[in-house]
């Protein structure tokens, strides 16, 4: 029997109503007890600097692990190593692998690889339609049984209103949400950047915010029609947020996530340092200040439920192409926590409990996952964060196989001290914490 006692640490767990100093006893990989002045017995005692906080394991519900089929960009092993370095104990992985996760055998492959090589928990998300082509539903029941926690055609939108309707109806039988990459292809066209003054001056084809919101509105209607749960992936436009708010106000089951880059950066990033840095190219694109400010407001007032990274690794050769030709996407697992502290918590936009909601409580709730709160008897998935640590991002040092980040060289206040999955310390930041294990 192995036991670890986190002594008098600052626990923040909004779902359990905890925000204060507690002892946390971890026994045989599970949470043994949370209380005060717990007896030590043979437990290894771990004391933390008083500024550190202990939270339920963070969960990133939008991650591209690229395995099977695109292992040159990332694998389940490297992707989960990246996740735990970013403080995440669990990730939900997107189905746009090769082959697409549109049948149980691909799901089973992912589950197996995760058990063999993963250091964080991996929850697969299956496709809505075969090949994500938007023509025929996948065997959603089978996908669920194999381990999928939601369905999406991410990379593409769910093609038609009818398909969205059917997917919502069918998936809700299995208590799964439909996650949508909201985008109208005819409005997006071959755009590569946010349609606005910056793209116009850089000579880049634009993607208007309305191409996202028009689809969000459709999905809210379909959720209303079916009573199903639609989750808006990587929301970026203020018009989309308006539609989500309106839907929630009417009691419709719509939830939404935003990525750190969409509340930190704007399209101005495409023009800096000579311009055309493909690490500022992602879909949905970085939008204008009014959109960024809207996302911040949504995080503050609760209209946005989740922060998820849309971690999209791409090999350096692929990103070293002309802006038009380079693939969309940036990595995000290892920069998320620091960006959240530096840009949301320290400026006073949200308080720490709300941050934990956004990164743990709500992700678990949206996908119906275990975790999101610390419960005695449940697996000990715990994140130890250092809100005041100074962190400088070095792209070359990221644990992800790919280094496509626009935040290289940024110095931020706030970081990850350690990540514990099932009672095991799978990551400890040597600069912040020495744990002799």
């Amino acid at each position: 029997m192995s036991a670890m006692l986190l002594k008098s640490v600052h626990v923040i767990d909004p779902a359990a109503g905890r925000n204060g100093r507690f002892d946390v006893l971890i026994v045989d990989g599970k949470i043994g007890r949370i209380g005060r002045d717990l007896p030590v017995n043979d437990a290894r005692v771990i004391e933390l600097p008083s500024s550190f906080i202990v939270t339920p394991g963070l969960i990133d519900i939008h991650v591209h692990l690229r395995e099977p089929g695109q292992e040159h960009k990332e694998t389940i092993a490297t992707g989960t190593a990246s996740a735990v370095a970013g403080g995440f104990t669990a990730v939900a992985c997107m189905p746009n692998t090769d082959p697409i996760n549109d049948n149980a055998s691909v799901t089973q492959f992912i589950v197996k690889r995760a058990a063999e090589t993963g250091v964080a928990r991996v929850y697969p998300i299956g496709a809505v339609s075969l090949g994500s082509k938007g023509e025929r539903l996948t065997e959603i029941g089978d996908l669920r049984a194999a381990g999928c926690v939601a369905i999406t055609d991410d990379g593409r939108p769910v093609g038609t209103a009818l398909l969205m309707r059917r997917a919502l109806e069918y998936a809700s039988m299995f208590k799964m949400p439909v996650i949508n990459h909201c985008e109208d292809p005819s409005l997006k066209g071959d755009g590569v950047a946010h349609e606005g003054a910056v793209a116009a001056m850089l000579g880049l084809k634009g993607i208007p915010g309305a191409s996202e919101s028009v689809m969000v509105e459709r999905d809210v209607s379909m959720a209303e029609l079916t009573g199903g749960h639609v989750h808006v992936a990587h929301m970026s436009a203020r018009q989309s947020l308006r539609a989500v708010r309106a839907g929630k106000a009417r009691g419709i089951r719509v939830t939404a996530e935003v990525t750190p880059h969409h509340f930190v950066l704007t399209d101005e990033a495409l023009a800096r340092h000579g311009g055309y840095d493909t690490n500022t190219k992602m879909n949905p694109p970085l939008r204008e200040e009014a959109d960024r400010a809207a996302m911040i407001e949504g995080l503050r007032d609760g209209s946005i439920d989740v922060i998820a990274t849309d971690h999209a690794p791409h090999h350096a050769d692929e990103k070293a192409l002309e802006f038009d030709r380079a693939p969309f996407g940036i990595v995000g697992l290892e920069t998320a926590v620091s960006l959240c502290f530096d840009r949301l918590v320290h400026p006073g936009i949200i308080a720490l409990p709300r941050l934990v909601e956004l990164l743990s409580t709500n992700p678990a709730r949206v996908l119906g996952l275990p975790g999101g709160t610390l419960v005695e008897g449940e697996p000990a998935d715990i994140s130890i964060l250092a809100p005041d640590a100074s962190v400088t991002i070095h792209a070359a040092a990221l644990r992800s196989k790919s280094k496509n980040t626009p935040f290289d060289g940024w110095t931020l206040k706030g970081g990850v001290a350690a990540t514990i999955v099932g009672g095991r310390v799978v990551y400890a930041n040597p600069e912040l914490l020495t744990l002799n294990l």
């Binding site: 003054a197 050769d317 070293a320 192409l321």
Partner: protein
């Protein structure tokens, strides 16, 4: 504004990066270069022994020929490369193509590419000086410079000159470069296009905007026509060439509203009967052929000034 004595950067990627004094320097130098083209022997030894590679990823006859002529008049060794038959077709990345060419140690690379920003990405890794001969829908700096040279030749100055730019603006790199240059040099600019072809952000740059060609042309000293490509009909931008010509075509009747000694410009190639009536293209207002001649002089000036090579990157 004082004329600069040197260019600050070692590349010419866009007008956006130039200060008015530098633009003035280029135009002054082009004046001297134009005289070389008037001599019996149209050659000076200035760039003798220098190698210039013309890297054209997009087909172009007039710009390429203009650059080649400029390079030869300065006695440089020129190497032309167009994509048909190059490794780009085989899927080689832009960076690798550039590095292969760099290994031959050119002094300068003149580059045209279909993707906006390609020369900027290349400039980060190349030692050679890069001259942007047109990148996607972003900039075409030497075109704007030769346009400015032509305007100055006819009007004596750029400051206070009223310029109307009319055509498919949203897809035009010539528009963007000209807007930067004309606003920097104190001209007043009005942009005219159908709403579907009008880019955002122009007003913030100090450019007036209208969908009415008669309003744009009224009192204009310079009318710059930009071409409208036939593909635009397919992208749902325009219903037909006929309708475009009716509402946005420059005709002799419309010219009557312009200033008395107005000039008409076009970067070419022209779509006669679509954006411009033949009677205007060939008429007394047209300086279109002057633009072509001036292009060689302006490009000689740019090559000369960049070959000095001490600017920062």
């Amino acid at each position: 504004m004082t004329t600069a004595t040197t260019l600050r950067h070692r590349h010419l990627l866009g007008i956006r990066d130039l200060e008015p004094g530098e633009i003035d320097l280029i135009l002054e130098t082009a004046l001297a270069m134009k005289e070389v083209g008037a001599r019996p022997i149209k050659k000076v030894p200035t760039l003798r022994g220098r190698t210039v590679v013309n890297l054209f990823f997009e087909p172009s006859t007039r710009t390429r020929m203009s650059f080649e002529l400029a390079e030869k008049r300065l006695s440089a060794d020129t190497l032309g490369m167009t994509t048909a038959g190059s490794s780009v077709v085989k899927g080689e990345t832009l960076g690798d193509t550039a590095r292969t060419i760099e290994a031959m140690a050119p002094d300068m690379i003149v580059m045209r590419h279909a993707s906006s920003g390609a020369p900027h990405q290349l400039a980060r890794v190349c030692r050679a000086s890069i001259i942007n001969a047109g990148d996607g829908t972003h900039e075409h700096p030497t075109q704007a410079l030769l346009d400015a040279f032509t305007i100055r030749e006819r009007k004596g100055t750029l400051a206070g000159v009223r310029v109307a730019i009319i055509g498919d603006l949203i897809h035009s790199r010539v528009l963007r470069s000209n807007v930067w240059l004309l606003t920097k040099m104190g001209a007043s600019v009005i942009a005219c296009a159908p709403a579907t072809l009008m880019p955002p952000g122009l007003r913030e740059l100090g450019v007036a905007v209208t969908y009415d060609i008669d309003e744009a042309v009224k009192g204009a000293d310079v009318i710059m026509m930009l071409r409208v490509q036939h593909e635009r009909m397919h992208g749902l931008f325009l219903p037909s060439a006929r309708e475009y010509f009716t509402y946005f075509g420059l005709t002799p009747a419309r010219m009557e509203r312009a200033a008395a000694d107005a000039i008409v410009m076009h970067p070419g190639p022209m779509n006669r009967g679509v954006e411009i009536d033949s009677d205007v293209a060939d008429g007394p207002w047209s300086v279109i052929l002057d633009q072509v001649a001036n292009g060689v002089a302006v490009r000689m000036a740019v090559l000369y000034l960049l070959a000095g090579g001490e600017g920062e990157g």
